[in-house]
Amino acid sequence: MAEQWRSALLLCLLMAASSLASTGTTAPASTGNDTEHGTGTINTLPIVTWKWHHVEVPYLESHHEHGGGHNATGIAIVSFKWHHVESPYLVAVWILVCFFGKLLIEANHKITNYIPESALLICFGFILGGIVWGADKVQTFKLTPTVFFFYLLPPIMLDTGYSMPNKLFFTNLGAILIHAVIGTVWNAATLGLSLWGCHQGGAMGNIEIGLLQYLLYGSLMAAVDPVAVIAVFEQVHVNEVLFILVFGESLLNDGVTVVLFNVFDAFVSLGGGAIDAKEIIKGIVSFFVVAFGGSLLGFVFGLLMSLLSRCTKNVQIIEPGFIFVLGYLSYLTAEMLSLSSILSVVFCGICCQKYMNSNMNENSIQTVRYAMKVFANGSETMIFVFLGISAIDKAIWVWNTGFILLTLLFILIYRFIGVFILTWMLNRYRLVPISFVDQIIMGYGGLRGAVAYGLAVNLNESKIKEKNLMVCTTLLVVYFTVILQGVTMKPLVQWLKVKRAEIAEITLIEKVQNKVFDHMLIAIEDISGQIGDNYMRNKWRNFEEKWMSRLLLKPSARKQQDHLYNVFHQLNLQDAMEYVKEGERRGSLEFIRNESAFVDFKKKLGEDYEEAMPDIMADMPSNDPVSTCRRDVLPTVSLEMHEQNMRGLREAEGINAHHLLDQHLYKGRKQHRYRYSRSHLDINQDENEVQEIFQRTMRSRLESFKSGKMGVAPPKTITKHTKREPQTKMPNGKNKPYHSGDEDFEFSEGDSASGYDTSFPTRVTYRAGAGIENPAFMPDLDPSSPLHIPPWLADAGMEVNPVAPSERAQVRTPGYLHRLSSLRTNARSGETAQDRDLPTPPPHRDDDHL
């Protein structure tokens, strides 16, 4: 789903990025080389080098001439139009190369355990950059601010907003804001001033940077980078409060950075003399406008999106696309109004997540989540790779030991000082103080990244003489923080014994308890007459429920809002999955014997068979006639997952379960049709994997039962020839499943050779020993068409579908046979039962259900 939007966005990205990225005519050559080397072996000599630029001009000229000539005389059948596709092609190839890089890196988990992926990607970028440099002698590709800010950053920010843990974020909002605003200003001011002081002291040698320019530089270096922080902290798994503090700060400080940068940029342009109190006040005011304006804009877009999602039911296919487009628009709009675009898109995501998730169809939600991750992860990969590539460029490297080392030093020191001072202040008011160890990690987690680099490249060279020095120092700082601090972060966290994140497992009782907590705290606040966090949260919740939900949620979605219920629902779904998996693992119907599951299907009996598996739970709240069964249904399923056997629902055999399972699942097959259409993707519209697995399993099973019916023919009638064949083949069959292959062919020939009128008996002897080993592995065929009838058999005039050949090979313990026999029902089944000493099963499956 949302394929159109994805591709549309990607296309936009490609077009624009390419126009910026590919500057020289030499570009194609380097790309060609890169793809070869980057993806494959890098150190070997290229066997074939593509020297495009070597031939480019003559080649194209001749080509044009050629084309022209042809135009005059006739039509060119094949023509090579490199220029026609150049830009998008290059971008696509670069994306491919970056992804391959990630693939290579992720292939080896030993390395990624120690070195964070971001660091490795940068190193991969170094190598790529080296290759480009080697090929071109000039760096033709680097991360340009436009590409970064317009195409690579927004998806990441939208994703972070959309998957932000809201409660955690807003609970710690105060601390986050303090760190983001005051911390960033502190970092910028101290870095700028200290560097200027050192400059005055003569530590830098002879460079032309004034106080204002130092402050400008400080402001661009001040911000902790969200991309780098996520990349590193995601792999460290620190406790959630620490994570949200660092991460939230990195997100929200963008507003500050943008303002500081713009203000100082303006000041630098104005020159020192023109700055008066009025300008400074204007700068401060602009901070509020930019930060709050950006957030507000995001909020508005989020609401808009939520509203829109109320009525997208009829365009379900493009439904997930709205969030991407509107999210991107919120970013661009903020950029257009020179507000903080990062804040805008993050708040857009934060604000709409709840409503979107309840309004949209389940499939759309999955699509959005997945596509978000694809974009974000892809962008992140590219950012780091390109950060690496950008380094290999002679033009930007201006070495100034004093400047670079002092910058690194000050950044580290002031970050720590800032964190310590601010948390000390905060701890006086925080109920759960931030421990010293956590503070160290917060300080150490001050990673700088691509945002700083993007801003540095944006500097105006005409005003700032030492732009290159700044760019190169920024790059070094980025490498230092991302690679060095990133690598050492994990050992440090382990060494300091920082409290790690617990693996959040949703148990029902915990969820209930959380809910009890919430209400209890509110009640206590009410009684004690305090206005606390809980009071405010309660107020907000009431407001939200009363107004926002009514406005933004579909009426149907509003009903599903209870979290407790959702967890319950999820647990049940999980159970169903486990249940199926378990059954498949055992490879038989045995799992259905589990009594606890039986009830599940009993309930279904009272209802229409059309219902899909997951809907068993989904429709719970609705009043239904068989609610008496339900009381038992719900707990027993959950019970299954936690392997509790104390539930005393003892049924003699799962026969009934077989029956029910079989009935409604077989019926369900009818829904499972693949229809191709661009705007409808309605396979399994309201079913999901679970059901599909079930369907497949059951279908193939039923096919086998069908053929099992034919087991009536007594083995004695089989000719000598056919008798011999099975005996020889049986042992083989155990190890070697047939795939409708040659051996089947042989048999059939044997049958026809024996002059037997039908080929049934042969099959039957096979069936006799056949339990169904794992029917899920059966090829998924359209059930409406006769299965696996080889032409030569089809001619034999069979009335019933034969079994899939592969099944015949699946001979296992006869124990299954016993159970299966109960399903192998027919008018004829009586004979079968007698023959095999099996109890006569009741007729379970009506043929009209087929």
Partner: protein, 217 residues
């Protein structure tokens, strides 16, 4: 007036040691207490039931009960009071005191234990030391009563499932015919050990008097 002032001052100091609240906080809470009980000496259930904001709380009854529960006074007594004085009120409130930076690890553990105990008492309405299925169902039903879409059936089912969860974590090898008669305090602690009680079950008691800031309350 002066005499009562010193009297209460003295009382306050006594309570500081007992409950860990600061004198300021106790003063505020005392004010609130008097506000609630209409300047009487003792607080009765009706007083709490009349708090307007509490009216919507789904577990209102349980909370109010907890205030009148003798077990929450830590005197090894059972049963419940008809009316409570300020001291008892304060004791109950002290369960919700947040830890400070200075709180040691042992103290934190003790605090946690008290909080769990409080929660447990809240669930265990009949005071037999076990949360039975019936008792648990009641709570869950209360919690779910907010959302009209979820019926009682489901609430019961959820309670049942949760109960089974507890049973399975604590008594892993239970026979199918065994009956799990209720959650004991130990089991309760066991299930909640992952919940960050210290950082969650608290109320911010301000030094400032906020009782009058709330409009219309």
């Amino acid at each position: 007036m002066g005499a009562t002032q010193t009297h209460s001052e003295y009382q306050y100091e006594n309570m500081v040691g007992k409950t860990g609240f600061s004198t300021e906080q106790i003063k505020n809470l005392h004010m609130r207490f008097q506000q609630l009980c209409g300047n009487e000496k003792t607080l009765r259930k009706e007083h709490l039931e009349n708090i307007p904001t509490l009216a919507d709380n789904p577990i209102k009854t349980e909370i109010i009960k907890a205030f009148f529960d003798k077990r929450n006074q830590h005197n090894n007594e059972l049963g419940s009071y008809e009316e409570i004085g300020f001291e008892e009120f304060l004791m109950v409130m002290s369960h919700f005191r947040p830890p400070s930076i200075k709180t040691s690890a042992e103290e934190k553990a003790a605090m946690r234990k008290r909080k769990v105990r409080f929660l447990f008492n809240m669930h265990d309405t009949d005071g037999d030391g076990k949360i039975t299925l019936e008792e648990y169902r009641k709570i869950v039903e209360g919690l779910l009563s907010e959302s009209e879409s979820i019926g009682q059936e489901v609430a019961r089912a959820i309670a049942d499932a949760a109960m089974l969860e507890v049973a399975s974590t604590n008594v892993p090898n239970m026979g199918p015919d065994d009956f799990y008669e209720g959650i004991t305090l130990e089991h309760f602690e066991q299930i909640l050990k992952d919940l960050e009680m210290e950082s969650r079950m608290y109320v911010r008691f301000l030094d400032m008097n906020t009782a009058n800031l709330r409009c219309g309350k």
